[in-house]
Symmetry: C2
């Protein structure tokens, strides 16, 4: 380690250790408790009230929302955490923000950002007065309003509370290369039972205490999910402590239900953990030795629905699953509960918290940090604000020399790896570009990046390890697609750049994470205060057509189908046919903003088709006629041969060379598609071809034989509005397992022999020549089958095939 | 607990404790080591050899496969485990099978099932002689052969090694309600970094030591993934032990690389853990107290590629990541490696292991168990053999009384819950039906099942808990879709019945698990020896149209799109419009075999349309004209109004009632679709309508206005081959978040007002009446918007709407 990275806002600035005993006095406890009461009051108000926000008059059913939906259970605990984090932020001038893992903590984060002022700055109509309070309450879980979980609309959030499990991954992604940042990550004990969260505890084996910031996990152990208890709340204390020590953390326990005692304990504990983080960072940064620390974490065990109704209609509520959602039903059928709601709300004594105008009292408001130190205003949480363009080296220097189409072979991703290497180098100080993946960087042939960086790893090393380092820029050292995706999302959301490099089939593991991120992008693009972030780029290699020995389980090109269901202004899909196109496409993707770009590419040696100049033009157009392979010249062709993806392109060209040899009079137009969304109508996708353009290219009624990388139905789905209905698509139809590269195409009928038959079967007027060719192809298929059965490899004429247009 | 379940094959039969010291003598070590050498020899042979299987002549390049693909790294360790499991199976007459979690242990499982004889019984051509050996070697990772991971073709396997992370969930699913069974589950240390595996360690909080069997996890700590080290191999021993104790296990460590010492240690340890399992089960079953045990597990730390080449070309291989796949390249470019391969293979001394005919020597063969005790022949691993039909109570007794269409409302899933309750009761002794899910049983309104059973839970309980019990039949007490899916798969694969009850949006979390299960079903249906198992049934409730307060993150109907990409003979999708249809559909699904059935259903109060008799007929047909809503009588209609899903059905009927009021001359045909695959062509799906049937119903060219539950493009995709192209589909288009039930339809244009406009815009000849109606609908949309902005709820005419056909 020769670089010691520091930051002006690092906790390193503090040198004194805190006292061992209580760190706050009774007066401070009173103030903090009042602030907490205010946050709890606002939370209950959001869930229940339609009017009378300060209870200036006796509460009646008319003041209560007609439909009460919201989640109280997790809220008071999160309010408690927030007020205590505020204290240490102020005291130590910390650069900290808050990730709310428990699904439904919406009211807490909204209440706290409102109290600290960041909410009203973004939403001026939710002002810090009685009128604003009324609107604050009304909008919650109300038509046209805000959701009951933390959402893109919530200031200070990079993490949405709908689908659970990704909070820790997001938090770790956020602190990578942010040495001055601490992310306080509240993990719900329900959430902690998800797979993604369970493995995310081990993220601490990667973190570099020198060049990364710190994550402070706070397990919110309030005991229940929707209606079941949580596992971590129902094991012995010793077992729980062993679990976290076994995950490499130093756990501190804050347990109880008496507010005053809990305030003292939480303040003392937080003081200690902030000091631990400080000590760890000082130690690593002054010695330059990044040996893996046992980072601190907090276990906060408090009652679910703390300070809420203890009993309702004779049933215990506080501290039980019944506090999860709305603990007290108040409606016409339960009008008698109005008074219980009123006493609950008055128990927070709003008259001691807010002034006559409905504004938080100054001595309480003073507890919150100021300006960008407020967690609701932390610039990292609106990462587009911090986003700098990547320094993009010239991808053209990696061009594969293609003297004529198909004259040379190359591994597309190997070439791309060299471009990535240059990007890594160019953006290393300060680093704002990273590659994420589940140990597939080398397998996907991107090894060139290890010439200039390593994998991030801060656990034990042994002599024969390769490319490991605590400051590595590639994060592929955990075998978890969930972690790769979560880290990358956290990295992007805090204003940096990157990509996820995966096997094509196994990206399906994060289908739902992609969905949630796409939804986040859609909503934030509609919020003027949210700045655009860098696109989420997927490189899907080791794809469906390259699974010789892995077979059936490794074949799934359906991520494209999934992606395309999302909003058209968010998603892009590219299938470059060769290395030069792949370079051009990735250059474009890494410069783009606020999209999800899916790029499918091969890693095996495959023929190269276009020169760099041709590739740039082709990729800019997104699709186009390959004149050198076509013989329709300026006339309308007899048949359109379309291809999308490296393997379909190869087979279409092989098909065309057979056709041109045997049916020289057949006028063939070859179209290659790089940008899949060009196929869709312009009315549906911004990249879509207009009807006129499409008809011009694909003709209005000539037969189109389309060889597609993925499931054939996707092309039908994209083109169903088009005039030309004579489209016949071949693609992956779930056939074939352990076999040769060519035979898998045969089994799915995407091979040249079947494709020639497709043409003969559809194009009219081919007569006896056509019939002869059809039979020839049938013979070829038999010959192929016999040959691989005998030799275990493809016919020499397949292995040695080269493009030539004999006609 | 009043029932103590025992089994004749329970280890309970053994009463003596093993000696504390070594349990095998030197002679036994020699024999076991020889058996291990045989398995290792066969594994290397599979990866490399094309001929000369017993090395009867000096090895040459001609004997080696042209393309060597396979995975050596994990194989010798798994061979080691297998031979030791064989010993305890024989000694204690255990009912045990083996789950191979590490991705690529194929050669090990094939080698061992071959040695024990189960392989040749299933595949007679792979005989136990030299000819069989040759074929055994040739087929591996060879075109038309078997894959390099454990697959459906592997005897004794219920778990495929392609996509990692589900071994423990499968193992736990298998032992539920199988008190005599022990599943030895080998967990790879790479696999252990996946989310699903990480949370699966906590499955022990659910297991009932009385009525369930035992899972014996064996963490195979061989240190490396593809090219990275593994995290659990690179933390301190103390930390690793704390981790497993924190997960509730009692870990035993078997660590080393000296074969003899390791044999002794492994045998002694296995003796101990089998005894622990026995003691735990005896204790629980004799006292009837199922208090959570600290079940034993084993950590086996052995070198990756153990006994393989130590060094290749000057680089260390054994014990490094380089041993992961093929440790020694042998081809024309590396011809000098032939002799190294030969010495490696000869190091196992095949001449001491196999007789002149190529058969394993009798004293070695005697080490394996016999008959069904062999892990490759365990009946649980071919679960269809053990499958008994469910006892199906009459679903008709739960029929909702529907005096006329739309006259009453009901919650469809609440009604279904009562049917489930009866099924649970009817199949309780011995239990072979379970409901799985992530704590959503109550939220999805299936609470009736808790009248007769509980949730399975064996951790701490407190007084206010509800419906928890160690012998509960509902497994919804972990918040993990991965666990729900994995448990269910394990339960089904071992010959039982069940369903996964999920929120519709979050089923996407297991997209890839569904894919792998569908692939398993496809492949096993092509293997004559694999018996059909019960279908995997999904109940997707809390669906996209019922997310008032959860909003955008909870909206994703795309699982249907995903499912339909799989083979048509495996997947089925049903969208019953009301409770009676839902009952009929689920009755059918639970009787079916070897499918994946996806059922989407609502939980909110919704109008009911069909009597039970009508529902049964309608669901049997899968789709049909609703005559009572149509006015086309025997003529061809002017427009076809089609609907699929409960919410679209409601809106189509509301649309029809508006149309019939305002345009009484318009001839309307209403078609409701329950079985989605009826839309596809008969040539593509066994349920598909023929072209004639489709044209008869949907007409050849009249406009079809189709209101669909999911993404509109799915209907286009299913119908693109149909004659009638005048199909206009409305569905979910990713719009709307926190709003009313009706407004979310408006935002996605699936509401009655937009649908009326769709008709007016498309059907010709409606003249001024049509124009007037169009304007009326536009006014209604404005009125709707103004009303919810003001009142936060839908217009009274929407809330109180009832079906009537005025014309």
């Amino acid at each position: 380690m020769d670089t010691i990275v520091t930051s002006p806002r690092l906790p390193i600035a503090t040198t004194e250790r805190p006292p061992e005993g209580a760190v706050i006095n009774a007066a401070e406890v009173r103030l903090m408790n009042a602030y907490w009461r205010a946050a709890n009051y606002l939370s209950v108000g959001q869930i229940y009230l339609y009017d009378n926000p300060l209870l200036r008059e006796p509460l009646t059913l008319a003041h209560v929302k007609p439909l009460i939906v919201g989640h109280w259970g997790t809220t008071p605990g999160q309010n408690f955490i927030y007020v205590h984090l505020n204290r240490v932020i102020k005291k130590y001038d910390l650069d900290m923000f808050y990730v709310s893992g428990p699904g439904h903590g919406g009211p807490a984060l909204v209440a706290n950002t409102y109290l600290e002022g960041s909410y009203s700055e973004i939403y001026p109509s939710i002002s810090q007065d009685e009128a604003g309070l009324r609107r604050l309450f009304t909008q919650f879980s109300f038509p046209g309003g805000i959701s009951s979980h933390v959402a893109p609309t919530t200031p200070g959030s990079i993490h949405e509370g709908g689908e659970l499990g990704y909070s820790l991954s997001h938090a770790f992604g956020a602190v990578l290369d942010n040495p001055g940042l601490i992310v306080a990550c509240v993990v719900g004990d329900g959430e902690s039972e998800t797979g993604p969260l369970a493995t995310a505890w081990h993220s601490n084996k990667l973190l570099n205490p020198i060049s990364d910031g710190a994550v402070l996990p706070i397990l919110h152990l309030n005991g229940f999910k929707i209606s079941n208890p949580t596992i971590l709340a129902r094991i012995d204390h010793e077992e729980l402590e062993q679990f976290f020590r076994g995950c490499g953390w130093t756990p501190y326990f804050v347990e109880g239900d008496d507010p005053d005692a809990m305030h003292t304990l939480m303040a003392t504990t937080l003081e200690r953990v902030v000091q631990d983080i400080h000590d760890i960072q000082v130690q690593a940064r002054t010695t330059g030795i990044p040996a893996r620390p046992r980072w601190p974490m907090i276990v906060l065990r408090s009652p679910k629905g703390w300070t809420g109704p203890r009993m309702v209609d004779g049933l215990k509520v506080e501290g039980t699953f019944r506090a999860h959602q709305v603990p007290l039903l108040v409606d016409h059928a339960h009008a008698e509960h109005v008074s219980q709601l009123e006493s609950w709300m008055r128990s927070y004594k709003p008259e001691e918290l807010f002034d006559a105008q409905g504004r938080l009292l100054p001595e309480l408001a003073a507890l919150a940090p100021q300006g960008n130190s407020r967690m609701g205003a932390n610039p990292h949480t609106n990462g587009g604000q911090l986003l700098r363009d990547l320094l993009m080296p010239d991808f053209r220097v990696h061009a594969v020399d293609v003297p004529s189409p198909g004259a040379v072979v190359a591994s597309d991703t190997t070439v791309l790896g060299q471009f990535f290497r240059d990007i890594v180098s160019a953006n290393d100080q300060p680093r704002n570009f990273r590659i994420f993946g589940p140990d597939e960087t080398l397998s996907n042939m991107l090894g060139a990046v290890f010439e200039v960086t390593n994998r991030q790893w801060d656990a034990l090393e042994v002599p024969d390890d390769e490319f490991l380092s605590p400051d590595g820029g590639v994060v592929d050292s955990m075998l978890s697609e969930h972690q790769s995706e979560g880290f990358l999302e956290g990295y992007l959301l805090t204003g940096r750049h990157g990509l996820f490099n995966s096997y094509e089939a196994f990206i399906r593991i994060v289908d739902s994470m992609f969905s949630q991120h796409a939804k986040w992008l859609k909503v934030t693009s509609e919020l003027p205060w949210r700045r655009k972030i860098a696109s989420l780029n997927y490189l899907l290699a080791s794809h469906v057509w390259q699974q010789d020995h892995n077979g059936f389980t490794h074949q799934d090109p359906g991520f494209l189908d999934h992606v395309i269901n999302k909003k058209a202004d968010i998603v892009r899909a590219y299938l470059p046919p060769d290395a030069n196109c792949l370079l051009s496409v990735f250059d474009h993707c890494l410069r783009s903003r606020h999209y999800v770009n899916v790029v499918v590419a091969g890693k095996h040696l495959m023929p190269q088709w276009l020169t760099m100049d041709e590739a740039v033009i082709h990729c800019t157009q997104g699709l186009g006629i390959w004149r050198w392979a076509s013989n329709d010249h300026t006339e309308e062709p007899d048949v359109v041969m379309a291809c999308c993806g490296d393997t379909p392109t190869l087979e279409i060209l092989a098909t065309v060379s057979i056709l041109r040899e045997h049916l020289p009079d057949l006028k063939i137009r070859v179209i290659n598609v790089v940008d899949l969304m060009r196929l869709q109508s312009a009315s549906e996708h911004p990249h879509g071809l207009s009807e006129v353009e499409y008809d011009e290219l694909f003709t209005k009624q000539k037969h189109i034989i389309f060889a597609f990388h993925g499931y054939p139905s996707l092309v039908h789905r994209l083109t169903y509005r088009r005039t030309n209905r004579n489209i016949h698509v071949r693609g992956y139809v779930e056939e074939g397992t352990i076999t040769t590269a060519f035979d898998i195409r045969v089994q799915n009928k995407l091979d040249r022999f079947h494709l020639v038959q497709d043409v003969v079967d559809r194009v009219p007027g081919l007569g006896t020549k056509g019939a002869y060719l059809r039979q020839l192809m049938a013979d070829k298929l038999i010959e192929h089958k016999q040959y691989i059965d005998k030799h275990g490899e493809d016919l020499p004429e397949i292995r040695n095939w080269k493009w030539s247009a004999t006609a």
